[in-house]
Symmetry: C2
Subunit: 343 residues, 2 copies
């Protein structure tokens, strides 16, 4: 049997209240008493039981993150390496405050909301991190209604509240289009994210803005909706290159689709960067090691994870967030060899 706080109290000849005060760093305890209690804790190898503490403090010291898969074309979207970087960022910050990150995976839909409801009402977690936001996301509506602490990586078009951090995808895409236009590209294809995603419309606006700015016309035949997978990048690119008037550049909304696109171009005996240029989004660690290395939009995902964590903790503690209407970061265009002057 593990020692309890009462065992420690008995051993140190003090009351449980005093032990509790020592554990929680109360200044009320005399130094000599504290020493004695510490010694007892040490010799007994005592650690407070998480569940008991949670029960009385109403805190679990755990935050949650749920991978809500969307099925497209009958296939599960696999999780992006990007998400792993996000987890990296969150956990590397969480370790300092002894807070754990709990993970669930569930398909979007009926059962998804059940899971959220269960987590919230059973108070298994103190707060939630949401990502891959959908338009009219039912999760956001529910959590807002319940006044449950949560932060979002992403945002809606018009977003109230200060609980989100996002990368300005539109501005990034605008910069990418400008880069391509300056290289001399006039026919630029657009490999879109799935339409349910809330970022899809925002990013599209950036593309339109960029094209208008550079006086380029948008050809509806050069738009293809992907699902973030390499496969869909490949399919979309073949579709583009089958057009009577194919593009000389393809903008892809993530790196994985860009890898698929490059593969498709090469499979046709064409050269990436001269015959067809490719731009990605995310700058996952592989992007600089692909062949050719990928021009892409870098987002400081590790730092975003850290920031999301710190923001969430503030919300949980009901401290002011010193954010007004979220936080928007600029992605940086990293130019590598997948883009070049068209033939």
């Amino acid at each position: 049997m593990m020692p309890t706080i009462r065992d420690v109290a008995r051993h140190a000849r003090v009351s449980v209240g005093t032990v509790s005060n020592v554990l929680n760093g109360s200044s009320l305890v005399k130094d000599e008493t504290r020493q004695r209690v510490m010694a007892a804790i040490e010799t007994l190898g005592y650690h407070p039981t998480a569940a008991a503490r949670s029960l009385s403090t109403q805190r679990t010291n755990t935050i949650g993150m749920i991978r809500s898969e969307i099925r497209l074309q009958g296939n599960l979207i696999e999780t992006d390496p990007m998400v792993l970087d996000l987890i990296d960022g969150i956990t590397s910050e969480a370790i300092n405050s002894s807070i754990g990150l709990t993970f669930w995976a569930i398909p979007a839909g009926q059962r998804e909301m059940e899971l959220y409801r269960r987590l919230v009402t059973s108070r298994q977690i103190d707060g939630l991190i949401l990502f891959a936001l959908r338009e009219k996301d039912p999760r956001v509506a529910y959590l807002q209604e319940q006044a449950f602490p949560f932060v979002i990586f992403g945002r809606f078009e018009s977003m109230e509240g200060d609980n989100w951090i996002d990368v300005d995808g539109a501005a990034g895409i605008e910069a990418a289009v400008r880069h391509l236009a300056e290289l001399g590209h006039r026919r630029i294809a657009y490999l879109s994210p799935p339409h349910e995603q809330s970022l899809t419309r925002l990013r599209w606006q950036g593309f339109v803005r960029g094209m208008e700015e550079m006086n380029l016309s948008i050809d509806p035949a050069l738009i293809y909706e992907g699902d973030f997978s390499e496969k869909s990048g490949q399919l979309g690119t073949h579709y583009f290159l089958d057009q009577p008037n194919p593009p000389t550049a393809i903008f892809c909304n993530n790196d994985r689709m860009a890898f698929g696109a490059m593969r498709a171009i090469q499979a046709r005996g064409l050269t990436v960067g001269s015959d067809v240029s490719v731009v990605g989004f995310d700058d996952i660690s592989l992007a600089r090691y692909s062949n050719p290395p990928l021009t892409t939009l870098n987002q400081p995902i590790h730092d975003i994870g850290k920031a999301l964590f710190n923001l969430l903790i503030k919300l949980i503690n009901r401290e002011p967030t010193d954010l007004l209407g979220g936080k928007l970061l600029k992605p940086e265009l990293v130019i590598r060899q997948s883009t070049g002057r068209p033939r």
Copy 2:
């Protein structure tokens, strides 16, 4: 205030014991009573509080996984995409039993063991999943001593116990070497995992076995210790190609190093698959979309995640595991275009 079990009891005009029985599906409750309790639960929107339940059942319905980073050459090893697939597998199985997977990140070393000790003694989790096993891993010794339920993805050379699942890396590498030798390669370089890892020695044995089997000699100049990063794959490959008598094929112990290797080969104006062949390990989803697509060893990582989860649950419940001395899976050699006949 959230409703408690006593509120439900009052509302349904039964005792708390009966409500508890209904919640836990006891067969003792009369059907009519059950209906009444269910109705009360529904109208009050009641969900049992996780902490209270944990306190009395001594179960948290949470399992843990800790990313223990090893610092090599002053750099953090970033987590492999492979780990994400593992998480995918675990969580997709865990959702069915309402069990969460909690994540921590901590550098290997002093503080690492503190974290493990805290998690075990504070009973924040019911069990642990270990991976990236090191030789003489202190975590294994501690958990064994504490009789804390845990499973391992990986194994030691001589491993007692039935709580591990591993891929037979040695057999895989043997097959890879055979494949290369059959293509006509005689000088095969070996890009090793970091020496601390417990899989390093096992995999090396596979390489030696394969080379001996094919009557090839091992050149010490064609061995390089990497750290699983693309960067180290690049560095190792440049080192190999700088040798007076360079290799015609390179075996890399993971796909990320293989990508780095291919990049280095191409940076020298050489062609992967004809000038130098490259083999990877893992078959991450990008492997089939690289340029050229990567010949690699596929491990069913998603299924391994599921199996690890189910094994751990059995250990937690002290059920028989019907495994005798762990479970060893054969990786499958997937031949793509990064390997070919040497010039």
